[in-house]
Amino acid sequence: MMKTKTGKVALHGMLITLALILSYVESLLPLSFAVPGVKLGLPNIVIVFALYRLGAGSAFTVSATRVVLVSILFGNMMSFGFSAAGMILSLAVMILMKKSGKFSVAGVSVSGGVAHNAGQIAAAVLLLGTKEIFYYLPVLCVSGVTAGICIGLLSAYLIERVEI
């Protein structure tokens, strides 16, 4: 499927759709009751998969398109800012961690999860101008690690098994 350009476009389209659906599924799970921003990061399964199987460029295409589409469908300009900041930082960290070659998929996914939350908090501080949000950082760090391990192990399995 990856041999032709059309195949490549189709594959990316499918991955974006999958990431989008996972974003929606995630929005149905009310995990953010105590601290806003706590989430599983289900779309990250697709991003990590793309990063390992298709490369950094594809991972960027998929996650950037997902962020834009999610903001159009469910969000607003403010949420776009948060998502974009989290996405860019998360992906940058994951690419670097993968390049270092010292970590498994779970390690890469964990750092991505934590970076995503850190990016969102940084955006919130910049956009809202309140420092109190840093109060959430430790909670989001722990939740990012936990979710990152789960997502990483799941992604590792898919990276190994799924044929494209």
Binding site: F103, S104, V105, V110, V114, Y135
Partner: protein, 130 residues
């Protein structure tokens, strides 16, 4: 495939991140404990303690121990204390904005005035232990 299993580095990374979170929790807890009252001191002398839960507007003047002519208007609103009017030359006390966490202080140096958030009696539980 070697990517599947957690490696030593991964465990290390997770450990470090959890330790950092622990430290952040700790500091956030220390730094961000909401206070129960504010203590007003003039020239190092405690003159009164006001609970943060009651909204109040108080004009500090010579009758509280400030020098003749000095004036600071202290507000307590929604659990936060701030000075919004003062005739000191630098207005640093006004610029300080709202304080509500334990240890936060408003200082008006020219008037030798400090307003510090203290533990006070926060909730019923703390009240019982007195």
């Amino acid at each position: 495939m070697k990517e599947r299993k957690l490696r030593k580095n991964d465990i290390l990374l997770i450990g470090i991140l959890l330790v950092i979170s622990g430290l952040l929790f700790f500091f956030a807890y220390i730094a961000k404990d909401p206070g129960g009252s504010v203590t007003i001191s003039i020239d190092g002398l405690e003159i009164m303690e006001l609970p943060l839960k009651d909204d109040i507007r108080i004009e500090l003047s010579s009758e509280h121990g400030l020098e003749e002519g000095h004036r600071n208007l202290l507000h307590i609103k929604d659990g936060k204390a701030y000075i919004d009017e003062a005739n000191c030359p630098d207005k640093v006390c006004i610029d300080r904005g709202e304080v509500c966490y334990e240890g936060e202080t408003i200082v008006c140096l020219p008037h030798k005035l400090t307003v510090t958030v203290t533990e006070g009696e926060k909730q019923e539980i703390d009240g019982v232990s007195e």
